[in-house]
């Protein structure tokens, strides 16, 4: 069964629940010797981990900007730029850059004129709209002649890349792939070049691709529809209420010029961490990174989001009526990842959700026999700012969301009123330690974690220190945090109720 929230869980368990002491064989000191951090003069941070197990390497570039940074009225722009970062550069993907540049400027000029007339509410001239639209489309067709399609991808693939991809979340944007170890220089050139000379070519066709992505993930999935409505309800002011993929009306609005402006503001070296893990030599990779990434111009770091979510003091609920099977979801606001109670939330997640010994599995699946699956998790929809601790359950046939609600609340109540058993807490701590160890033998996974921790804490060592923090969590902490967080007025509920007949399909018509 596809369920978007579940994809978040393994990520969380890996990234957030990490525990100390890797036994005598492994400790922080042994990693200190293998990991080097180098801050370039322009502010970009490079993290290198040497792991010569096989002649390959992986990297992650993490940019401290995600869809929370989308400008008002342009939701989906961060994700749109992420797609554009595969469209090549001034040197890759073009037959004649100077001619293409002029043609792309024409595309933007004609689009601006078309857009202005199209969104005029009073006195719009429909024939003029058509004419301007045609001029824009003609300009696109003209620019297309200079395009070498997918050349950036082809270059990577023919050089033996694996896992070329990128992802955008509300918090940040990450780019990654793996290459054979003899291609470090190629990597350093290409990965810096895409952020030094990005070109917004084929922008409006790619926008259609993204709209198809929205149809696939959100519009045509019952749980995708629920999540969009749910987050819109759970967050009133902070941009976590936005869909990362963007609203259809915004997707149909923004321009290549808007995407470039987003890039200029947020893709600043001081806002980027690049982590590379594998069979690389420090003496080779650092000078190459300095040579190539050092070309990125120093620019001022953008201001962080200052809006915070006001305290929720009323129960909220959204209910979708669907022909699909029922579903239950609820979320409670919790503080951001830097809060001292962060490890307590991690412990609660593990206790409530991890495997067949977890409390929700035992209560809803094994004992009451009302659900096929039930879990609680946090770090959603982001973690950088105040976010949610959420619970969900998938009812068995014949069982209702109401039954899920009731039993989940009973389990939450138990967390608030009764201390967890010593063995339970010990199990959580042991499991976190093992999870950290298991993560270490994976180049892409380590590159992601090192980049993320370096970005979020300014020090990759926090990956290991967070372990000590979890080890200090007490049963009192669990009761205290449960009581503080899981309050009815701090709750947002999302339900799919099954009805026969016509569903909640969002129409494609705008305005």
């Amino acid at each position: 069964m596809k369920f978007p929230v579940r994809r978040i869980l393994p990520f969380l368990l890996l990234v957030l629940i990490v525990i100390p002491v890797l036994g005598q064989d492994l400790d922080l000191a042994s990693f200190e010797k293998r990991i080097t951090v180098k801050k370039l003069d322009n502010g970009l941070t490079l993290v290198v981990m040497q792991r010569p197990e096989a002649p390959v390497f992986s990297f992650y570039t993490v940019v401290d900007a995600g869809s929370a940074q989308d400008p008002q009225g342009q939701t989906g722009l961060a994700h749109m730029f992420e797609h554009m970062a595969f469209k090549g550069t001034t040197g890759i993907g073009t037959t004649d850059w100077l001619a293409e540049k002029a043609a792309l400027e024409k595309v933007e000029g004609t689009y601006a004129a078309y857009r202005e007339e199209r969104y005029r509410t009073v006195g719009r001239d429909e024939s003029k709209v058509k004419q301007l639209e045609q001029a824009w489309k003609d300009a696109i067709a003209h620019a297309q002649q200079y395009v070498v399609p997918n050349e950036f991808d082809e270059l990577l693939e023919s050089n033996g890349s694996r896992g070329v991809n990128a992802s955008t979340s509300l918090d940040e944007t990450a780019y990654h792939y793996s290459l054979p170890a003899n291609r470090v220089q190629l990597w350093a050139y290409l990965e810096s070049e895409r952020f030094l000379h990005p070109v917004m070519r084929e922008f409006y066709k790619e926008r259609d691709v993204v709209i198809e992505e929205r149809r696939m993930r959100t519009d045509s999935q019952p749980i995708g529809r629920l999540i969009e409505q749910f987050l819109g309800e759970a967050f009133a002011t902070y941009p976590y209420h936005r869909p990362t993929v963007g609203y259809l009306s915004d997707l149909n609005y923004f321009s290549a010029t808007d995407a470039k402006a987003f890039f200029d503001q947020y893709y600043v070296p001081a806002n980027m961490v690049v982590a590379i893990v594998g069979d690389v030599k420090l003496a080779e990779v650092v000078p190459l990174a300095e040579k190539y990434f050092g070309r990125l111009p120093t620019r001022p770091q953008p201001a962080p989001v200052h809006t915070t979510e006001p305290p929720q003091n009323s129960a909220r609920e959204v209910e979708l009526r669907e022909t699909a099977q029922p579903f239950y979801l609820e979320g409670y606001h919790r503080p951001n990842y830097r809060d001292p109670d962060d490890p307590v939330y991690d412990a609660i997640t593990d206790l409530m959700s991890n495997g067949r010994t977890s409390r929700l599995f035992r209560a809803l699946v094994r004992d009451r026999k009302i659900a096929a699956e039930a879990a609680g998790f946090s770090g959603w929809p982001g973690t950088k700012y105040q976010h949610l601790f959420a619970f969900y359950a998938i009812p068995l046939p014949g069982h209702t969301p109401e039954e899920m609600r009731k039993t989940i609340h009973e389990e939450i109540e138990r967390l608030k009123t009764t201390d967890v058993a010593d063995e339970e807490l010990k199990m959580v701590k042991t499991r976190a330690k093992a999870t950290l160890i298991r993560g270490l033998a994976d180049n892409p996974g380590m590159a992601f974690q090192l980049a993320l921790y370096q970005l979020r804490y300014g020090d990759w060592r926090e990956l290991f220190h967070s372990v000590e923090r979890i080890d200090k969590v007490t049963k009192e902490d669990i009761r205290r945090v449960a009581n503080k967080t899981f309050q009815p007025t701090n709750r947002t509920v999302g339900i799919i109720q099954t009805i026969p007949g016509s569903p909640n399909l969002q129409g494609e018509k705008e305005q």
Partner: protein, 495 residues
């Protein structure tokens, strides 16, 4: 939001011509900076091959030392899977795969095992798939002896307790009730039936009635019939000494006698008529399109040329399907395809694509055009070279961890392939010529043999499909559980 999906899931007449032009252009404009980049030869790398031992009782043991981390992991593969279950009991292997472990052993309940193992952050798990059942363990090195004992107990003395059988049946029933909620799942399930035939063991699926028909006795009998050392391949990887580990495993299994072999099964493939099928789904605004036909077996001498063709056609992110239907036309986010292969039966030749309701017919025409183009204008020159380079330069990723090498070796062992199949694969790709690719394109692509499935919103699609030919509506109504009138709408009013 990922930029692409794992199944990168096709084009019009106009497009093909512009594409051909672009492909030629591709090589004339490489960034001059790229010419200055040094790519030294990849250092010689010999992946460590696991130690292979055949026990007197026929069990094949593969031991792969890996001392990077203090962990020991294993997987045991047992011959016999859901393709052998009776058609009246489809779901048996799903249930068996769960309850083998959750149902506990003679001495311990499954819940007791959960507590014991989770306290050590260890796992012993079982699973069932189409051709085998699996039992595995993962643990910290320090807990090996404790965990291995649990593993042996589950392997030899499973109890299949009734409460866990009921739980597994509930889970399967939930999957049945929800199988029409997700458009992608419908498209994949029905297209597989179109390619193999609805009753084919690789395509059929569980119903409430077949799940209800599975009894504890079925699980017990399955275990007795198939779980014998001569039907087992056991792979262990991690921080151990092979000699000591071999001794420990020999000690554990010497007294276990051989059992009957798993008989070879003859399975017939009866693809549905190659025409257009439609499944209406009102709550979507995107159509899921699947074009399917029978694929090939991996031991087919054409396999290597097919792999190269697949890469250029629809596997890579610079493949024709992506370039034409996604990049150039903006018709899809997910599009891809190729001639599927499997180790011991034909795979599925599948093209898949998601497009907005309004462009459904255009997308189907586009896919058909791409197929035709593959015969008329097969990959050659730069396009061919690029596909071969992609496969060969990334070849190292087939064995860049010791656990991966073990998994590959286990698969060759299981299906009776030469253990140096990876080397043969590399040689096969290297040898593939433009003539080979053109030949396999002609040999395997027959547009008139494809069944085309569209799952989508009938109101939004309108009459587009009728222009493509006669449309057969495929009924996906879920048959109600035995003794109930209907639950197909999934109404949950009870209680």
């Amino acid at each position: 939001m990922n930029r692409r999906t794992s199944l990168a899931l096709i084009v019009s007449l106009l497009l093909i011509s512009s594409l051909a032009a672009a492909q030629q252009a591709a090589r004339t404009t490489i960034d001059p900076e790229l010419e200055k980049i040094k790519t030294p030869p990849l250092p010689e790398f010999h992946p460590q091959i696991p130690k292979r031992v055949v026990l007197p009782n026929g069990m094949v043991l593969l031991l792969q030392e890996d001392h990077e981390l203090p962990l020991i992991d294993s997987i045991m593969r047992v011959r016999g899977g859901s393709r052998l279950e009776p058609s009246t009991k489809v779901g048996l292997i799903d249930i068996y795969g769960d309850v083998w472990r959750t149902g506990g052993t003679k001495d311990k309940t499954g819940d007791q095992l959960d507590d014991f193992l989770e306290a050590r952050a260890a796992k012993v798990e079982t699973d069932g798939n189409v051709d085998s059942t699996l039992i595995s363990f993962n643990c910290l090195k320090q807990d090996f002896e404790d965990v291995f004992k649990v593993f042996l107990d589950v392997l030899r003395n499973p109890a299949f307790r009734e409460d866990k059988i009921a739980l597994a049946q509930f889970q399967l029933n939930t999957a049945i009730a929800r199988r029409n909620d997700d458009i992608g799942q419908i498209a994949h399930r029905i297209s597989t039936q179109l390619a193999y035939g609805p009753t084919n063991p690789y395509a059929r699926f569980a119903e409430y009635s077949t799940v209800a028909a599975v009894t504890r006795q079925d699980l017990v009998e399955w275990h007795h019939q198939y779980v014998h050392p001569n039907n087992i391949i056991f792979g262990v990887v991690g921080d151990f000494d092979s000699t000591a580990m071999e001794a420990r495993i020999r000690q554990a299994f010497t007294s276990w006698p051989k059992g009957p072999d798993v008989p070879r099964q003859h399975i017939t493939f009866t693809p549905e008529k190659p025409q257009l099928y439609f499944v209406p789904k009102e709550d979507v605004n995107q159509s899921d399109i699947q074009m399917v036909a029978l694929g090939i077996e991996r031991n087919n001498p054409d396999y290597f040329a097919v792999e190269v063709m697949n890469y250029a056609f629809g596997a890579g992110f610079s493949s024709r399907l992506i370039k034409d239907l996604r990049t150039a036309k903006g018709l899809a986010y997910a599009v891809g395809g190729g001639i599927g292969s499997a180790f011991d039966h034909p795979g599925i030749f599948r093209l898949a694509m998601g497009t907005k309701s309004a462009t459904t017919a255009e997308a189907v025409e586009g896919l058909k055009q791409e197929l035709q183009e593959l015969i008329n204008d097969p990959p050659m020159g730069e396009e061919l070279r690029s596909a071969k380079d992609a496969i060969l330069n990334a070849f190292i990723f087939n064995f860049d961890s010791k656990a991966k090498v073990l998994r590959e070796q286990m698969a060759y062992e299981y299906y009776g392939y030469p253990l140096d199949f990876l080397d043969r694969y590399r040689a096969g790709i290297e040898k593939t010529t433009a003539e080979d690719v053109a030949r396999v394109a002609r040999k395997y692509i027959h547009a008139e043999q494809f069944a085309t499935l569209v799952v989508g919103n009938p109101e939004e699609i309108g009459n587009q499909l009728s222009a493509l030919g006669p449309v057969t509506k495929w009924d996906i109504t879920i048959p109600p559980p035995p003794g109930e009138k209907s639950r197909s709408t999934g109404r949950s009013e009870t209680k």
